[in-house]
């Protein structure tokens, strides 16, 4: 690990002013905020991340979960994943979020990892993590070793010829289906970013993963009120029963009235370069009867643009079956 200066932010304004001196908030940032450290310290040990300055934001007053007047929820940036997953309002109104978080990592890591940190969780692509390998995300222009290499766990949606790295977060998939809004404070003031616009596709610049700029501090995330009569769940398929990243996962938020799907929000995990909202699947479901045939059409639509690599072709069918089964579970009579 390279040396760095460790500082503690006494307030958000100070943290933002300090971080704004960096040339980027993306891969290679010289200044990094640290929350739980479960991603950052791991990558610093691998020399994948080499910040010169690390700013501890854990003591900023961004650690509350509160009900909003409109029935929604606000979640502070440094709320721990375990506190979020076990919060009574999350369990009651946003089951998909609780289930997604509890399906990820371990109890220890969930006690450390924060809401904002999880939004910024980095890919587990082995080539990104190994500094002696080419990787366009870590070292732009060096090439993508994964496309011709070990790519079984990598993405089939949203890829480019430069990067096929999977977004590894479970929480992000649930947040995408819940249409969360990410609130950021930066040098130019505050702004709200829908989660669908927060992560960006790799395209020609895989080193860029989000719309964050130097000095941007995620302060909190808000969730809209739960849809009346809606049900939600997260289904995750992986190589082990626990403590493993998704090969495919599905977050479903659905309302069924008299056997018909009146509203559906669908996101997939383990298959996309970003948390993969599928408005295509939602389109196939809305107004249709909650039947296996309709679910299959939705799954086919969600994976229509899939581009499998040499080792991950199985993910196309796996993700479809995952979504079909999740829809079945979410829409069956209680």
């Amino acid at each position: 690990m390279k040396t760095f200066a460790l500082t503690r932010a006494s307030d958000s304004a100070q943290a933002i002013a300090a971080a704004a001196k960096a040339t980027t908030a993306q891969q290679g940032a010289e200044i990094r905020f640290i929350g739980g450290g479960t991603t950052l310290i791991d990558l610093m040990k691998l020399n994948v991340e080499q910040p010169k300055t690390v700013i501890d934001i854990n003591r900023l007053p961004l650690d509350k979960i509160e009900a909003l007047p409109d029935g929604g929820l606000t979640i502070g940036a440094v709320v721990r994943n375990s506190d979020l997953a076990y919060h009574p309002l999350v369990r009651k109104n946003y089951a998909v979020l609780s289930e997604a978080i509890l399906s990820g990592a371990s109890a220890q890591l969930r006690n450390m990892a924060t809401t904002a940190g999880n939004l910024l969780q980095r890919t587990r692509c082995m080539y990104f993590r190994a500094t002696d390998m080419p990787c366009n995300k870590r070292e732009p222009g060096s090439g993508c070793a994964a496309i011709t290499g070990a790519n079984r766990s990598l993405a089939i949606l949203g890829t480019s010829e430069h990067c096929i790295a999977t977004n590894p977060s479970d929480m992000n998939v649930a947040m995408a289906a819940l249409e969360a809004t990410i609130h950021v404070r930066g040098t130019k003031g505050e702004r709200s970013i829908p989660i669908a616009d927060f992560h960006v596709l790799p395209g020609n610049t895989p080193q860029r993963e989000t719309v964050l700029e130097p000095g941007d501090l995620i302060t909190h995330v808000t969730l809209p009120p739960p849809a009346p009569g809606g049900r939600s769940l997260y289904l995750k398929l992986r190589d082990r029963a626990s403590y493993e990243f998704a090969l495919a996962s599905a977050a479903v938020v659905a309302t069924v009235v008299d056997g018909k799907v009146t509203r559906a929000r669908i996101a997939l995990g383990g298959v996309g370069t970003k948390p993969w909202r599928s408005t295509e699947a939602e389109g196939e479901l809305t107004g249709q009867p909650a039947t296996q045939a309709v679910f299959q059409k939705a799954a086919d639509a969600a994976l229509r643009d899939a581009k499998p690599q040499s080792e991950n072709g199985f993910k196309v069918e796996l993700a479809k079956r995952c979504l079909v089964h999740a829809l079945k579970l979410a829409t069956q009579p209680a």
Binding site: T38, S106, A150
Partner: protein
């Protein structure tokens, strides 16, 4: 020294399949080499200093920061390099070697300690960030003459073989007793999945934890 390692690595690699043909095994072993190489700088410095028989605190760099850590109820005033993980600080500076280093990347759970009563992977914490917090290690939960019920249950159930992961298993299990955990073995297995046991003592570990939970439920005699 790092250059020598690097040339050995290159030499090694020449004997391996070309990159595109690399097998999972060669790839993984190369990754292991890569992570060793990546940290060669600081590691070799530390080793060099140790072989010069200098006491460990002298390996602290000029960037050292003062920090007061509260471990097992006792305060310690330290000067540490900001890179020092809580795990290394406990083991190398405070000589509390109950917490073990396995993977050093938050994947095995051998380093599990409690911060303010919650279990965390101490290998993924910078020690200097934890001033003012209550840190508890295995040494803080029980003593040979006064075992914590979880420790006693691990002995009674033979819940270990080589013992390397045991301290992390016990620290996880102690924390689990206060967490929302369903009654079944499967619930315990799920919440213990962040602690890997290469010997495979899992059935006895689960039995030990379930014994403690059962006993806690029963009203005490007398």
């Amino acid at each position: 020294m790092p250059d020598e390692d690097a040339s050995n690595e290159r030499h090694d690699r020449d004997k391996r399949p070309a990159f595109g043909e690399s097998t999972r095994r060669t790839f993984l072993s190369r990754l292991g080499m890569a992570s060793l190489l990546a940290s060669a700088g600081p590691v070799t410095t530390a080793f060099a200093q140790r072989s010069m028989k200098e006491p460990l605190p002298s390996s602290v760099s000029k960037d050292a920061v003062p920090v007061t850590l509260t471990v097992n109820g006792k305060k310690h005033d330290l000067r540490i390099d900001p890179r020092t993980t809580l795990l290394d600080c406990l083991r190398e500076h405070l000589h509390l070697t109950g917490s073990k280093k396995g993977c050093d990347h938050g994947q095995c759970g051998a380093c599990t300690v409690h911060i303010n009563g919650r279990r965390v992977n101490s290998c993924l914490c910078f020690a200097a960030m934890h001033e003012g917090e209550e840190i508890t290690t295995l040494e803080g939960i029980g003593q040979p003459e006064n075992l914590h019920p979880v420790q006693a249950a691990f002995v009674a159930c033979d819940a270990y073989q080589c013992g390397y992961c045991t301290s992390g298993q016990i620290m996880s299990a102690v924390a689990l007793l206060k967490e929302p955990c369903g009654p079944e073995d499967a619930d315990v297995k799920e919440l213990m999945s962040g602690n890997i046991c290469r010997c495979g003592a899992y059935p006895n570990i689960v039995a030990a934890i379930q014994n403690v939970r059962q006993n806690a439920k029963q009203p005490k005699a007398g």
